[in-house]
Symmetry: C2
Subunit: 587 residues, 2 copies
């Protein structure tokens, strides 16, 4: 349906002017709106006249095709400022079905996960699938495949590989530059990737958790113009002062929005936009999408029109989407109706002048893109229980310390029990389990082992093929037998998540599309997820403080502090180097 937003022709231009001038009947009139003017920051009562896929005029209009808004608020379609669609566990067509009824009509997507698994074939699959959705999804080209040289992903995309796809109109810009250290340290390959985007005049997204001071200036000076990794108001303000846009994040695992809103004022909000980053379909069913962000903004005392600006005009400005972002003549007819600007209960959504959602229901038929090119992605060599055995000298170890509610971890020093061969033995008295990362893209046979604390697991194992950003298999367990069963089942499923206890698979979520996304409906994913969560919490005893899967997803991501585990070993992000599990290894 994106094709509806077609190139302007003499006929479409003429018709729109005729409609606006009142000389020709609109294709559709949305009557009796309270129009949220994000341009003038006011509410304007009137009708919206639509010609083809665009708004012709705002004022008094009539015609044979009318939607009577009955005094409801009309807002510009919401623009999701930064999302990894893969984290919904759904394909783009299904993602569209889930978020459009919540008012999201445009998304800036970074298909970083599928590209790390399947390279540019994965990128192209996402573009094709998105073309089958009602919403408009603009894809940024992943900048860090892999995110660092300290892990094996399914593909490597160098600066030279980017020349062709970046020049293509299907690529909207360069996706979040996660290797901020590489940029600040002037790594040639990093800078060359930036130059490819600059040469094509395309925006470059950032990713710089905790970065402040001259390091932040250096990062901004490279031309990186957004960041969605702020977790404090001070970090957000520092980025605004450096001329960057701040993407205020409210995802499934990261709920930074309320805290970040403390730095947002009427005077500095123009460079603030809303984003989800990683948002499971379960969260969408439970809380909605950008309508959820808007509710939170208003709850936190942000003026409702300012909140809507962040969800529309500001994001459109940020990404140079000149054809949308406000309900004004000539713009894309992406219109969201809601009863009020407090609960933001969305009643109708129009995209390109067509009604695509009503009372929470997505109206277009869901047509799915062929997933064959991104199937069969779990390629593991000679995996057996033996690979899971640790050989520690003593029980004085550093563990990856989970910090609930975020993706940053701590380094903890613990003393754990070992068996005679030096392998970790689970002790119910302390909250430490084994974590394994098994390479699954190119049959290297790599298996890395470490320990993780504060996850709460008391028995069995949990494993998944979604592990940012290389998406190797990540597995946490209390014993090698259950961990082996879990990994073996994932190989059979072609990816997904499984919960195992006493050698039995208790729950599973198959994700055959690149080992990241389901080929089923969001409802089916939600139910499987709920089952996985239920078994993880109630059988395995995983801590209620954490989200069992999403939390593990980030335990392999070597660009967010502090300790992470890749298929090549335990990684200290601050030192930007591997460290030993053995805590006294320096001695």
């Amino acid at each position: 349906m994106s094709a509806l937003n077609s190139a302007e022709t003499l006929e479409s231009l003429r018709k729109r002017i005729e409609v606006a001038a009142g000389r020709q009947e609109p294709d559709l009139v949305i009557k009796n709106c309270k129009i949220v003017s994000v341009d003038t920051h006011e509410i304007i009562e009137g009708d919206i006249a639509i010609s083809d896929d665009k708004i012709a005029g705002i004022g008094e209009y009539d015609g044979p095709n009318v939607i009577d808004a009955g005094g409801q608020y009309a807002m510009p379609g919401f623009v999701e400022g930064h999302i990894h669609i893969e984290s919904s566990f759904c394909t783009p067509e299904e993602f569209s079905r889930l978020v459009v009824p919540h008012g999201t009509t445009t998304a800036i997507a970074d298909p970083h996960e599928i590209t790390n698994v399947a390279g540019l074939d994965g990128f192209d699959y996402m573009v094709r699938a998105a073309e089958k959705s009602a919403m408009d999804i603009k894809f940024m080209l992943p900048s860090c495949v892999p995110s660092t040289g300290f892990e094996n992903a399914g593909a490597v995309i160098n600066a030279a590989d980017m020349e062709e796809p970046m020049a293509d109109a299907k690529t909207w810009g360069l996706a979040e530059f996660m290797n901020s250290v590489g940029v600040i340290n002037c790594d040639d390959e990093c800078l060359n990737k930036i130059l490819v985007a600059k040469k094509n005049g395309k925006p470059i997204d950032g990713h710089s958790p905790s970065l402040m001071g001259q390091g932040l200036s250096a990062y901004a000076s490279a031309g990186i113009h957004t960041d969605h990794e702020c977790s404090t108001p001070e970090e957000a303000l520092a980025r605004l002062r450096n001329g960057m846009y701040v993407q205020l994040r409210q995802g499934s695992a990261c709920d930074d929005l309320r805290n970040l809103l403390k730095c947002v004022t009427e005077s500095n909000s123009r460079h603030c936009i809303l984003c989800s980053d990683d948002r499971s379909c379960a969260t969408m069913f439970e809380k909605g999408d950008l309508d959820d962000h808007l509710r939170i903004c208003v709850e936190e005392g942000i003026d409702p029109i300012t909140a809507v600006q962040m969800a529309s005009l500001n994001a459109a400005d940020c990404y140079g989407l000149k054809d949308r972002g406000s309900l004004t003549p000539g713009k894309k007819a992406d219109v969201v109706l809601a009863n009020d600007l407090k609960d933001f209960e969305i009643t109708k959504v129009l995209i390109d002048g067509k009604l695509v959602a009503e009372d929470g229901k997505y109206l277009p038929e869901v047509v799915r893109e062929d997933i064959t090119p991104v199937m069969s992605s779990v390629r593991v060599k000679d995996f057996s229980k033996d690979s899971l055995k640790m050989r520690l000298k003593n029980g004085h170890v550093r563990t990856i310390g989970i910090i609930p509610g975020g993706v940053v971890t701590s380094e903890e020093i613990r003393d754990v029990k070992l068996d005679d061969d030096g392998d970790f033995v689970f002790d119910p008295a302390q909250d430490v389990a084994k974590i394994a990362v098994i390479e699954r893209h190119k049959y290297t046979g790599n298996v890395a082992l470490a320990l993780i604390s504060n996850y709460g697991i008391k028995r069995g194992a949990i494993a998944l093929t979604v592990a940012h950003d290389s998406h190797n298999i990540i597995c946490v367990g209390t014993n090698n037998d259950d961990m082996e069963v879990a990994v073996a089942r994932l190989i059979v499923l072609g990816g997904g998540a499984v919960v195992v206890n006493d050698g039995e698979v208790l729950a599973s979520l198959p994700l055959p599309v690149g080992g990241l996304m389901s080929d089923q409906s969001g409802e089916s994913v939600r139910d499987s997820l709920a089952d996985v969560h239920d078994k993880a919490f109630n059988v395995l005893g995983v801590s209620r403080e954490v989200e069992p899967l999403m939390t593990l997803c980030f335990m392999s991501l070597p660009v967010i502090p502090k300790l992470k585990l890749t298929d090549m070993g335990l990684f200290d992000v601050d030192k930007f180097d591997f460290v030993d599990v053995q805590a006294d290894s320096e001695e």
Copy 2:
């Protein structure tokens, strides 16, 4: 010097990051600034580190090359939102010399005048001349050459003629679409011009005086995204509501700024920018440039940072100038220092990291582009006194009624004296004179005659080759003899302005560059202008209520109401057709 703002290379990018990170010395540090942050709407104390032509970092920096701001305010270089450089009577190199010391570092220019005289050769001359200036001048391609079909200009540029220049990087967009009636009425040629700009993704400037309601929606729906012709706060607000940018104008003849500021609020100012449109060099010497606009904004109660935003970030946003508009890392190092944010007395101006003006003095050597291609533009056929004779049936006439302080005229009905042949005879008892427009581009021999009231002239004649937009010769006088002498002198000068009385040329301003611009300094132009004004006021008796030349400049412009005179006759802009000088002609 614009070449300094060169394409990014690996070396320039690396150096800037190194400087920002504090690992390499900046090329220049501006120490101890109160930085006006247009991004966060606050004042930040700190230093500005410069690497090559760009800002590397804001914070604490040191190096061997320092400018100590001593606590002065540092602002982003000002962006002139819409100007016809020709109206300064100076060439681009000289214009740069005049405005840069006032903080203007970028201008969005519409070379409409020279292009109406010399076609695309005139456009190209302006681009070449601008490349020799310190400031960056972005040229919009004139959309209306001629502005209507009701006049003869020196060139005709159709939509088809625009394909090639619009695709060229030297063209920033489509200049003010003066024929708003043509757009609203869906004239094919107008719409095709718009399509050429859209196809190239370039901005389209507007020009829609008095337009409101569905006509305005129609104009905006065509994709026209600015207007500088607002004269009331209501008109300005209506444009903002239609998603357009409003260029708040303060020129030599039009002083709309104070009035328009009444509609500007903190919440709607982001789509407001500042412009001069037409500003004589004499005004620049007297009042400055955008610093003058800023003083007026603050006098009228606009927050000073909001005013600076309008002069920088907002204009950069409006025109997609992503490389400038704020003092943040990675942006062009265009910096303006001033003692305060009230008087805006500019002490230093840097462009591309180089000091280009200090205490009102422009520092670079002025190197001038060859003007040969735009000389010898006054081409008049067989002109004689006989051409100036009117043949009216009776003295009941409509006159072009000047309204002081603007460019809109009224229609007045007067009863004037005639001689035996029906020619107009000047009567000192009433303020009516003869006005002639003599075609001067292609030897058509066209001479159009009409009457003008409220100009105040009591004797002699005044003539000039600057007459928007076709720039035929316009001459006002009390007698045919003096009018003939004035026109003849203009032909000899190759263009300019002259004041004649009793057969004698009392004052003249030669404008040999297209009959529009001087090849001399701004000071020389100012002095000649002062002499022309002095003789116009003190000898000819022109009313002190009007600007003798600028007022006449607009008497030939058939797109601004109400009555105007082109070389083809008296034109009623509201009726969009010619009318008779004879008031009872309908009977």
